[in-house]
Symmetry: C2
Subunit: 137 residues, 2 copies
C-alpha cells in the first residue's frame, strides 16, 4: 500500500501535485497511463512518483511542458546525450534572465508612477491625476 498501489491522492501528496494535475499530465502524455485496480482507480508505484517529482521540479523551475518532454527523454535515456538537456537549461535561463530584466524596468517605472499620485491629487478631478495622465502618454 505504501508503494505498490498508491491512489492518485497518495501520489499527489507525495509529489506536491493535485490529483487533477496528475490526470492532466497523463492526458497530455507526460505520464504513461498507469494500471487500474479492480474498481477502475489508478494505482501508482515508485517509478511514477519519481517521474512526477521530476516533472514537478521542472515546472517549479518554470520549464514549459514541451521542454519537459525533452528532459524526460534524456532521463529515460531515449536521447543520445545529456547535452540537449544542458542546452535547454541554458536557453531557459536566458528566457528567465530576459524576463527578470523586463520586470526590473517595470518595477522602476511603476515605482516612479505611483509616487506622482500625491496629496495634491485629492484637490483635483481624478482624471487629472499625474498617474493617470502618465498612463495616457
Amino acid at each position: 500500500m505504501a508503494s505498490a498501489g498508491m491512489t492518485i491522492g497518495d501520489a499527489a501528496a507525495r509529489t506536491q501535485c493535485t490529483p487533477a494535475t496528475i490526470r492532466y499530465y497523463e492526458e497530455i502524455g507526460l505520464l504513461r497511463p498507469v494500471g487500474r485496480g479492480a474498481n477502475g482507480r489508478r494505482a501508482y508505484g515508485h517509478p511514477e512518483i519519481h517521474r512526477l517529482r521530476f516533472i514537478r521540479r521542472c515546472r517549479d523551475l518554470n520549464f514549459p511542458i514541451d521542454d519537459i518532454r525533452s528532459l524526460l527523454d534524456v532521463m529515460d535515456a531515449r536521447a543520445p546525450s545529456c547535452l540537449s538537456a544542458r542546452d535547454l537549461t541554458l536557453q531557459h535561463l536566458e528566457t528567465v534572465r530576459a524576463r527578470r530584466i523586463e520586470l526590473e524596468a517595470l518595477e522602476r517605472t511603476l515605482k516612479t508612477m505611483a509616487a506622482t499620485c500625491t496629496d495634491a491629487c485629492v484637490a483635483r478631478p481624478a482624471s487629472q491625476c499625474a498617474l493617470i495622465v502618465d498612463l495616457a502618454t
Copy 2:
C-alpha cells in the same frame, strides 16, 4: 481622414495595437463600440485613439485587463478619486516585485544546474547526468 474617420488599420498603426486586438478590446468592453461607415467598417476618432493608447500603455506595464477597467474608470472620472489608481499601481508593483525576486532565484538555480553538466557527462549514460539527477530531486 486624419482623425474623423480613421480605419481600424490606421488606429492600429497609431496605437501599436493590431486590428484584431482592437476588435477584441471592443468585444470585452474596454472600448465602446465605435461608429460605422456606410460600408459597415469601424471609424475611429481622437477620443478612441487616446483611450487605446492608455490601454496599450497599461498592458505594456503588465496591468491585467480588470485593473485597466478600474484605471479607465478613473480616467473617465467615474471613480470618486484617483487613490484607487494609486492603490492598484502599488499592488501591481508588489506583484511585479515578487515575480522579479522569484525569477532571480530561478536564475541562480538554473545557472548552477547548467554548470553541473560537464564534459564528464559525455562518458556516462545521459540519464546519469548530474543535471538530470538534480531535476529528479
